[in-house]
Symmetry: D3
Subunit: 110 residues, 6 copies
Amino acid sequence: MTTQQPRQSAIAARSSTFPKLNDLTQNLVFGDIWERPQLSKRDRSLITVATLVALYRTDQLRNHLIRALNNGVTKEELVEVITHMAFYAGWPTAANAAAVAGEVFDERGI
Amino acid sequence: MTTQQPRQSAIAARSSTFPKLNDLTQNLVFGDIWERPQLSKRDRSLITVATLVALYRTDQLRNHLIRALNNGVTKEELVEVITHMAFYAGWPTAANAAAVAGEVFDERGI
Amino acid sequence: MTTQQPRQSAIAARSSTFPKLNDLTQNLVFGDIWERPQLSKRDRSLITVATLVALYRTDQLRNHLIRALNNGVTKEELVEVITHMAFYAGWPTAANAAAVAGEVFDERGI
Amino acid sequence: MTTQQPRQSAIAARSSTFPKLNDLTQNLVFGDIWERPQLSKRDRSLITVATLVALYRTDQLRNHLIRALNNGVTKEELVEVITHMAFYAGWPTAANAAAVAGEVFDERGI
Amino acid sequence: MTTQQPRQSAIAARSSTFPKLNDLTQNLVFGDIWERPQLSKRDRSLITVATLVALYRTDQLRNHLIRALNNGVTKEELVEVITHMAFYAGWPTAANAAAVAGEVFDERGI
Amino acid sequence: MTTQQPRQSAIAARSSTFPKLNDLTQNLVFGDIWERPQLSKRDRSLITVATLVALYRTDQLRNHLIRALNNGVTKEELVEVITHMAFYAGWPTAANAAAVAGEVFDERGI
């Protein structure tokens, strides 16, 4: 049973320097948006991961891959998201994501 | 009962000029990738729409919003995807998508 | 004395379809963030215009050029922002912005 | 025999408003960079078109497709650049470019 | 009193390999554009930092945060620029910038 | 005589996790697209390098600079591509590429 958790985000780690941004992140993005019932957390993880792959946001992708697994997206589904993204955002974004995902899967032991 | 269909894509409309690209689009992207069972068509529509919103690919977004509705994503879910994207790809991408989605919803009468 | 105002944004125009996004736009983005004293409205207009130029967000750029002028950024300064951006985001983004800004200046009669 | 020429660029059309940017465009970008012998004009057209396709710079792409043809890149080569780009920058960028290129080819009668 | 200076840029470090690019950087970008009076250095730093945050140009952002502080932008203003950018370019770009800025502030002792 | 080869790509390194993506990379992208006679390998390297510079795809750029040299693009031409890109995708993309290219040239001893 995995207990892999996202690392502390850059914003949380600098919360005293970025108090407004940290407050918005905790109370609006995670406390409100992610909790809205119009879209499941699994679906929100799918679209967030896809966006981070497409925009080549490497550091944030790592944590959201972990969140996605914790939200019930399977390893097989994440592999397929990255494969699908190769066509919609280009091979280099998929190659970058494959490297990051491989490390997340290794660390989780899946 | 809606019969709204995606318009002919730019690649299909120029298939005689772009025969290889059109062949790959029909037989690989839609004929193979979208049909793979590792991810449902509904899920593929979710991540494709999210990617097109995030990358500000206005023309392709229109058709994939129609496909998403045809693949079972609801209007309410698409609205929520765009709202979620405001935080992950920026307000201007969400504003652009809201304009396009509004027209698609109007045309479909939903 | 100019009375040029930003056009109704795409989100506001679709507020009944996108109630959460519209609420966040009115009450958080414009009602809170833009009002924070840590950065003047003039400075916020400068960085918002620069971002929209750099990201090639054509439709949103138009309205924020009008807001910038209303917030005290001069025409000469906007021209210089766009010239500066040519080096930091590439000539095509500056060319696009020059076209949009030219129309805004014409409409305003400056 | 074609006489298709690029349309006046947005910067040239607004040269009195953007004098520095116009001067840099005429005398540095086209007058110096494009004339450097380290890379042929044909090769510069190839990489410029690829960049404009990848970055989805629709308006600037149109003119540089015309320049590319005038610099000796063939229609068949441009079609292949766009097909290649589908893999390196994603299908939506190729679809957008295919639409623009189709119009340029039609206008030129090739 | 700080003496924190930008590190040698990648282009300057490779000036013998990239002589034209280095010459343009020194004599045009810094020697001409940044010195033009139409926009103050403080304002140029604001828009350059905003652009580098929005485009996720991590390595160049570090040096321009240092330049911004040297040009009179305060730490509090940079924090606010990054907070503002979260809305206009997306949370992941702000998170990345918060990490880089935190390191710059630490190194400077502010 | 150089024997510098691209490092194993992220996708190839994770081929057992990403079997479909690896198969497409080997058999379609490299096995089919790069082999098509409509564009020489040298020309494909030029446009691929330009795209990776413009999109700031640092990790993939490294390998494609090596491939470009192996496909007959000279060091002087690559330097000029990066210089040209400064104008079409912005100085930060050129600075990033200059750093990566400098390392590739050093490793190759050119």
